[in-house]
């Protein structure tokens, strides 16, 4: 899906936990997520902390969108 969206000329960032799959399917900007059943959350945190975590991940994804890349890139910490 990522590839077809990018093919249309839209900048796309893939947030997912299993980054090797994302690399296989051809995503170019990849942000590793927290866990498979809750990629942008952590049920062990308080609501406020969890929102903070999610916001940070989304900001990281936005940062990836504004970063020029020439090949598949996983945006680690």
């Amino acid at each position: 899906m990522v590839k077809e969206i990018e093919r249309a000329g839209i900048a796309v960032v893939h947030i997912c936990t299993v980054t090797p799959i994302s690399l296989t399917v051809g995503a170019n900007r990849i942000v590793p997520a927290v866990a498979i059943p809750h990629p942008l959350g952590n049920p062990k945190l308080s609501a406020k902390e969890e929102f903070g975590l999610r916001r940070k991940l989304v900001e990281k994804a936005l940062n990836a969108l504004s970063t020029p890349v020439s090949e598949q890139t996983v945006f680690e910490d």
Binding site: M1, E6, A8, C16, P37, P39, L40, G41, R54, L65
Partner: protein, 348 residues
């Protein structure tokens, strides 16, 4: 004949521990055949014995790749096997990645491995050079045909019998080129092939051209405060009740749902339709899969120009690559028409 020792790797489901709610379990080792191992025991040559079964949750393996690999690697070593069988995983993505990794671990120890997967399983593309992967159907309904094929290849490997080509033996090409002697020289074979092609007859290439379908990275967006950002997910978040009945696996459609005026996705309004992960966390707080709350906050602060008033969703669980590509092409077409320049796509 000398007895050959075989170790089986399977997930929590085939290990008869549980479904998605048990996908988090850590590796465990048993000194007997379990699940598909029971059937395999009867299909393998008489001198082969499944001496152990290693079971690990699919989510645990993929979320903790290094630890899981180390533990499973040690467990394999402890059995001192002649061969490892992993799966079959059919079209289960996490399971396929785990089986492929196990194949690579075994390969690195000098132990051959066999698995079974559907051709679209991401484990095929990532790991096929490390192990023999029998081509299976896309669901476990194909177990009856997968096990004999796996047993046959496993038997040949441990007993040192010559291995045929992928087409002859039913495994997926490992990308190995092997020198062989043939009757006709290359020029004759090439002309024969060309004549068949010209006559519109069936012919078989001796070297399929590899397909590399890659898309160049899109240009970076220097200033996100001026663009509209859209959310797309394969995590199956849908309005409560799943009005368009998007399938829990092998999705045949996608949905487009309004988030206009919403500060986030609540459990009252949304849920997941995805059948391939434990739904508890996503149902509780759907923002954990589609982060509407965080993006809305960033929109209010002016960090992004605008959050597109709809999100697009499908279930990426055993869904064919052809369908996923079709959905995304339609979604992208709409987004381009709406002037959306950036997409955050989330997957579970």
């Amino acid at each position: 004949m000398e007895e050959k020792r075989i170790v089986l790797y399977i997930n929590q489901f085939f290990g008869q521990i549980g479904g998605e709610e048990m996908a988090h379990i850590e590796p465990q080792s048993h000194d007997k055949p379990i699940g598909p191992g029971v059937g395999l025991s009867n299909l393998l040559p008489k001198n082969c014995k499944i001496v152990g079964t290693i079971i690990c949750g699919d989510s645990y393996f993929n979320e903790n790749l290094e630890e899981a690999s180390a533990t499973v690697g040690q467990m394999i070593k402890d059995f001192n096997p002649d061969l490892v069988i992993a799966g079959p995983a059919f079209n289960a993505g996490r399971y396929g990645m785990a089986c492929g990794t196990v194949g690579k671990i075994a390969h690195d120890m000098g132990v051959p491995a066999v698995s079974g997967m559907y051709i679209e399983n991401p484990g095929v593309e990532s790991y096929r050079q490390y192990l023999y992967i029998v081509e299976t159907t896309n669901s476990a309904a194909g177990m009856r045909t997968a096990l004999p094929a796996i047993a046959k290849i496993a038997g040949k490997i441990v007993n040192g019998e010559p291995m045929g080509t992928p087409a002859e033996e039913g495994y997926i090409s490992k990308g190995i080129r092997k020198n062989v002697f043939v009757e006709k020289r290359g020029s004759e074979r090439a002309v024969d092939m060309l004549l068949k092609k010209l006559a519109g007859e069936e012919f078989e290439t001796e070297y399929p051209i590899p397909v590399f379908d890659r898309v160049e990275p899109a240009t970076a967006i220097p200033d996100l405060s001026k663009v509209t950002v859209a959310l797309v997910t394969s995590g199956g978040i849908v309005p409560k009740g799943n009005p368009d009945r998007i399938e829990a696996s092998s999705a045949s459609r996608f949905g487009k749902y309004s988030i206009e005026g919403l500060d986030g996705l609540t459990s009252e309004g949304f849920q997941t339709a995805h059948g391939g992960y434990d739904p508890v966390y996503a149902n509780d707080i759907p923002n954990r899969v589609v982060p509407v709350d965080a993006l809305r906050a960033l929109e209010k602060e002016g960090k992004i120009g605008k959050l597109f008033p709809y999100f697009y969703t499908t279930v990426g669980n055993g869904t064919s690559v052809a369908n996923a590509a079709k959905f995304a092409t339609e979604i992208a077409h709409e987004l381009v028409n709406e002037g959306v320049q950036a997409v955050i796509l989330t997957s579970t």
